[in-house]
Amino acid sequence: MDIHINGKKCKAVQGETILEVAGKNGIRIPTLCYHSDLCLAGNCRICVVDVDGARTLQTACTAMASNGMKIWTNTPRVIKARKMNIQLLLGSHFGECYTCPRNNNCELLKLAEEYGIEELPFPKKGKRTRELEITPSLTRDPDKCIMCGRCVRTCEELQGVHAVKPVGRSNDVHIDTFFGQGLMHTSCTMCGQCINRCPTGALYETSCVQPVWDALADPDKYVVVQTAPAVRAALGEEFGMEPGTRVTGQMVAGLRKLGFNKVFDTQFTADLTIMEEGTEFITRLKRTLVDKEKGLLPMTTSCSPGWIKYIEHFYPDLLTHVSTCKSPQQMFGPLAKTYFAEKEGINPSKMITVSIMPCVAKKYEAERPEMNASGYKDVDYVLTTRELAKMMKMAGLDLKDMPIEEYDNPFGISTGAAVIFGATGGVMEAALRTVYEIVTGREVPFKNLEITPVRGMEDVKEAGITIEGVKEEYKFLEGAKVKVAVAHSLSAAKKVMDKVRSGEAEYHFIEIMACPGGCLGGGGQPVPTSPEIRKARARAIYQEDEAMTIRKSHENPAIKKLYEDFLEKPNSHKAHELLHTHYLKRKRFDKVK
């Protein structure tokens, strides 16, 4: 069918919105509550347009195109109404832009500029009306909230967590937790997906920038840093580069310039995770198939702290299914403060471990009381990708100008299997590359080691791999068809875990990442996010894998040496002490008696 936008004839398909048709035809309509990851709300009334025959203005994001429709996106009354709605939002938006963590990256501020807001019809709200809520991972500033509802939709649709909801009505309506009990007492997983979608500074990570500066400035402290795989595929965006630009070497150089004593790679412990988790998986297979034990399979991954907190709240009965392996971040911490400290003769009490993560749940994870296997706090500070960019900017560093440098040894050596941890399906792919080879002595039977069925952005992916021609000690696996599933986002996790709970699933191994796209879409990554941006980051990650000389974790020479020198073998007693953990059965609402 045909519709007319601003006099231009445009093709439209049944079920398309005005906004979609306009977008395809290069006509920009401003939006605010709209987000490409979420269902439609039509609340902010910024995208209003004139439609011939309609008495009032229509929201382009919700109004469906119909044949012959005549739409005007920029009439004087449309512009005036949009401007007024922006002014009304600004009028109750508390605080000054220069103290806001979203300074320069605020959708409301951008609209204010676009619509030439010079003053407000009435003076702005001058006093704080609701207090900040600060958790180890995220901070909520209800006074900066403009009630677009994106966080609510994110938490409900994408994550199935329902941690925040609109409460009350009219001018008093606000976003809150269950009976105002706070994020820490409800089942917030700390995934931070709400941060990525908040148009303003109402949601942001609880910052660790200052304590890291303090540590770097302290001559008594030896500060080491680790960087997660997904960071290198997104950090460039903070410096104006296209999504999907790989900046690994520049980031390493920048970190060195910031003054870190050693720049290490979380990918090293990602490879280590594969060794530990792969071995654990084979053991669980054996205990299930040979010893007929129950509750061990399917095994799920444990790298994503948002997922861990989710299963602790929502499926506490299934915790035995979760791999006991710590996440790569938390494997790194104790190794730095034991193995590395010993080797270098550094007093671990003087060592500060900082990690750069695409994640805000990692901040919470680092604060978990059990995370002190080294005898010290294993990971002292967690910075998000965004916070690292901020520190670089504070130090006058532009990533674009940085030379390409290499990570330090020994924790700087990693494989292609480790870098793909950053994308959904990556841990599964890395694990299969190693487990298959351990068991059969041959490479996994996929062209160029690319296990494509577990790649891509479908929310739940399944694959099966038949194991044949096994080595003598793995006879129990001969002919076994190993079924795996990969889920990203917690609503996808729910689909899979409901099947596990009901017994309907026949999976052996499940990878779950709390965030859409996996870590590359993490709550600590640059804002904005969209399916396209996440795809671009995934491309960068798989390119990085292809470019690596070693692409299987068990072939990482530094890992081999670590086992020889220190850990003996995967799942050894020492490995268990340092690299494995346990989980907590949590209630949905711990304040409800």
Binding site: C44, A63, L88, G168
Partner: protein, 386 residues
């Protein structure tokens, strides 16, 4: 024009329904269309067209909902109907259901009227006993029953999409339209929502015909209207008038004296001064859901403004920007008017906010919530700004 009076009259139960069974469904729709009956809740959508659209929607499940969430300040005619002749409302619902092919009817009764519920249930029971509701009504093949669902104190639920949300057990927030309820309403099924008084008209039109109905009222406003009159009058109460009655004639009926201003349409309506008392109550001139509040010369207009704007500050659902954010400026402005401190510039800004609310609010609440304020400002400027 004299008061007419049939809406509140008792009828012989089942007569209209029986007649409806004798006529085919499309014909009843045509009769209602031809009669010119428009929704009595205030918005005035043609009832026949609504029936036609809902009847034409393809679905095996459809609903008829009676909007008894009478919350507009100054309106109480639906309460009087439900106290006196609920059986006529239910019969109107049954005829409607028969026409559109619905099996379930729901009365959304405002929480404030909970005390009416027992009586309504009694009436329903009686009708079931007389086979006017239930299975195979009056020996036909038509099954239909009605249940009563209580609201819980939210004015916005009088808006049909918010009402439906509420019936679905959700926050009473209006939905984006289209789709309209006639194609996708309660639980996404085609749903016809009409006001209590509208349903009361239907049995009469079915038995007496469209022409009889058209003989009353004006060209575009056929039939009669129940008006709730309150405030500074000697005889407050419900009056049934022919559409087109002049405001001054209504004031005479209610024995108003010394009248300074009349609010027509409640908090979302307009307030007119004596010079406009020649205006008519009709869809052509001043439409209303039925509220008329009379103010005598001792009243201050700023107090009326304040009361209405505070009402909306309570009752906006808060989901869309203009309504949630806009309303409070009018409440603040009332204070400034009282203190004599409002400036011309601020008044201009308020008018701009008001037109933005009218143009861009998601539902009728935000689109009409500044009506009273602006009309008082326009009609009583000297008093307010002196």
């Amino acid at each position: 024009m004299p008061a007419t009076g049939f809406v509140l009259e008792r009828i012989k139960q089942g007569e209209a329904l029986k007649k409806a069974f004798e006529i085919n469904r499309a014909e009843i729709t045509d009769i209602i269309k031809d009669s010119g009956l428009k929704g009595r809740g205030g918005a005035g959508f043609p009832t026949g067209l609504k029936m036609y659209l809902c009847g034409a929607a393809a679905d095996t499940i459809k609903y008829v909902i009676c909007n008894a969430d009478e919350g507009e300040p100054g309106t109480f005619k639906d309460r009087v109907i439900l106290e006196t002749i609920p059986e006529k409302v239910f019969e109107g619902m049954a005829i409607t259901a028969y026409v559109i092919g619905a099996k379930e009817g729901i009365v959304y009764l405002r929480g404030e009227y909970e005390y009416l519920k027992a009586g309504l249930e009694n009436t329903l029971d009686g009708m079931r006993k007389n086979n006017l509701l239930g299975k195979k009504i009056l020996g036909s093949n038509f099954d239909f029953d009605i249940r009563i669902s209580l609201g819980a104190g939210a004015y916005v639920c009088g808006e049909e999409t918010a009402l439906i949300e509420s019936l679905e057990g959700k926050r009473g927030e209006a939905k984006n339209k289209p789709p309209f309820p006639v194609s996708s309403g309660l639980f996404c099924h085609p749903t016809l929502v009409s006001n209590v008084e509208t349903f009361c008209n239907i049995p009469h039109i079915v038995t007496r015909g469209a022409q009889w109905f058209k003989n009353m009222g004006s060209e575009k406003s056929t039939g009669t209207k129940l008006i709730s009159v309150s405030g500074d009058v000697k005889k407050p109460g419900v009056y049934e008038i022919s559409f087109g009655m002049k405001v001054k004639d209504l004031l005479k009926l209610a024995e108003a004296e010394n009248t300074k201003a009349v609010d027509i349409g409640g908090a979302s309506g307009i307030v007119i001064p004596e010079s406009q008392f020649d205006r008519e109550i009709s869809f052509e001139d001043i439409p209303t859901g039925g509220s008329v509040i009379v103010f005598d010369k001792t009243r201050k207009m700023v107090d009326i403004m304040e009361n209405f704007m505070e009402f909306f500050l309570d009752e906006s659902c808060g989901q869309c920007t203009p309504c949630r954010e806009g309303t409070r400026y009018f409440v603040d402005a009332v204070e400034k008017i009282k203190d004599g401190k409002i400036t011309e510039r601020e008044i201009k800004n308020l008018r701009d906010i008001s037109s933005c609310m009218k143009l861009t609010s998601k539902c009728g609440l935000g689109q009409s919530s500044t009506n009273a304020f602006i009309s008082i400002l326009d009609n009583f400027k000297e008093e307010l700004l002196s």
